[in-house]
């Protein structure tokens, strides 16, 4: 199985971190993984996206142009990448910020009001982890455990932050809508 994922949103939404956590978790599960940011001119002007591949096969190019999964954290991201998703793929939509449903009828849509949940949790920054939780509830890419381990790695085992993110992850898994 090969998951080719594009994660896209504003700068500051923690897009890169989402991708890295996924890749890290995949690595912990001895899967083949790659992550690559878009480092193009889009950087300025506030948008950011990255490609993640998690696969049981050796990975070719790390840059994903036709994703099996798109995580759209805001409107422009959905508009930009929606058409490139493979038929039969999945679009995860941060419904707090994305104002309309995907137009494609050959893909599965998953919705999560990530910012609203994050606001409820009192930490705006964790909308990304909420979304990750939501996605992993619905799509079997990596185990929750691996994500928690990755959180520990990335946040250098700072228990507070890890706990917080774990909670966010779990809320995402709980509140996800779709499929």
């Amino acid at each position: 199985m090969t998951h080719e994922i594009i994660i896209a949103g504003f700068g500051g939404q923690g897009i890169m971190l989402m991708g890295q956590l996924l890749a890290y978790a995949g690595m912990l599960e001895k899967k083949h993984v790659s992550w690559i940011p878009s480092y193009g001119p889009e950087m300025r002007g506030g948008t950011a996206n990255c490609s993640v591949i998690v696969s049981d096969q050796v990975i070719g190019a790390p840059i994903v142009s036709e994703p099996t999964i798109l995580i759209a954290m805001n409107n422009p991201s959905l508009f930009k990448f929606e058409q490139s998703v493979q038929a039969g793929g999945t679009i995860i939509v941060n419904s707090s910020l994305v104002s309309r449903d995907p137009l494609r009828d050959d893909v599965t849509t998953i919705k999560i009001p990530a910012n609203d949940i994050a606001d409820q949790l009192g930490i705006k920054r964790v909308a990304n982890i909420v979304t990750l939780g939501a996605m992993l509830k619905k799509i079997d890419i990596v185990e929750k455990d691996s994500i928690i381990k990755s959180l520990n790695k990335v946040f250098n085992s700072k228990p507070d932050i890890v706990t917080l993110n774990t909670v966010a992850f779990e809320r995402g898994q709980l509140d996800v809508i779709g499929k």
Binding site: P41, R44, G45, G46
Partner: protein
């Protein structure tokens, strides 16, 4: 009757810029364009864009533009000006572009008294490449290549390029300005206008340094960035006309 009393100058194209929120590049672009409008030089101006965040300046200025290699804008401007001595030719350069890689080119444009004008945007950092040390980076300033803060031992103290250029005979006018409020902006506009005027009169090389913010790579809000600039950059880079040779004062 509804009358527009402030709008976009003709010498700027009507496209959104790629600059980050609150970046001063946009302000300086507008000032230059206003001056060119006011002096009716749109049809005779050739601007030289650098490599830096303002690399796309040729998309924003509404007159002929030449994109130079990183640091080489003064050499490119020299080539252009020698072919079109009657035109207004200016370079627009960041601090990395002009003070690091392009150091020899700006010094020698000044030495030759090349009849061009240079607008030098000093934001104490490499903006375009994501925030590395520039020659103008302040002591203790954290950048991606001074992760522990710039330390004089090993990297030296910030270069005051304008003061250095002012020692060169061919540089007839050197000024340092800022654009963070309307008073400073007025002064900045005067100075840039003066620089262009000097060129059109054939008096020699003129340079105006504009202290600017890079909120993104400084890691602060645009408003905080203005405060940081005033607090930290102004002492190191004092504002004012650093040099105006006799011909210019006449």
């Amino acid at each position: 009757m509804v009358e527009k009393i402030f709008t976009r100058p003709k010498s700027l194209t009507d496209v959104p810029t790629h600059y980050c929120p609150g970046c001063h590049h946009g302000l300086v672009h507008r000032l230059i364009a206003e001056i060119i409008d006011e002096t009716h030089l749109q049809a005779t101006t050739i601007g030289i864009a650098p490599v830096g965040c303002s690399v796309l300046a040729y998309d924003y200025f509404n007159f002929d533009m030449v994109g130079a290699a990183h640091g080489r804008a003064p050499a490119v401007a020299t080539g252009v000006k020698r072919v079109h001595p009657e035109n207004l030719v200016f370079t627009y350069q960041g601090d990395g572009d002009i003070a690091a890689i392009g150091c020899a080119e700006i010094v020698h444009a000044a030495v030759r008294g090349e009849k061009i004008s240079t607008i030098f945007i000093n934001n104490a950092i490499y903006g375009m490449t994501g925030g590395q040390m520039a020659p103008t980076t302040l002591i203790s300033q954290v950048t991606n290549t001074t992760p522990y803060g710039r330390c004089a031992e090993g990297t030296g103290k910030p270069l005051r390029l304008s003061e250095m250029i002012a020692t060169i005979d061919g540089a007839v006018y050197v000024a340092r300005v800022a654009v963070h409020d309307s008073i400073h902006m007025t002064k900045a506009k005067q100075c840039i206008k003066k620089a262009f005027d000097i060129q059109m009169k054939g008096l020699g090389f003129a340079m105006v340094e504009v202290l600017s913010t890079c909120p993104t790579n400084w890691g602060m809000s645009p408003l905080k960035a203005v405060d940081w600039m005033k607090e930290n950059m102004f002492p190191q880079f004092p504002l004012g006309v650093l040099k105006a040779s006799e011909e210019v004062l006449k």
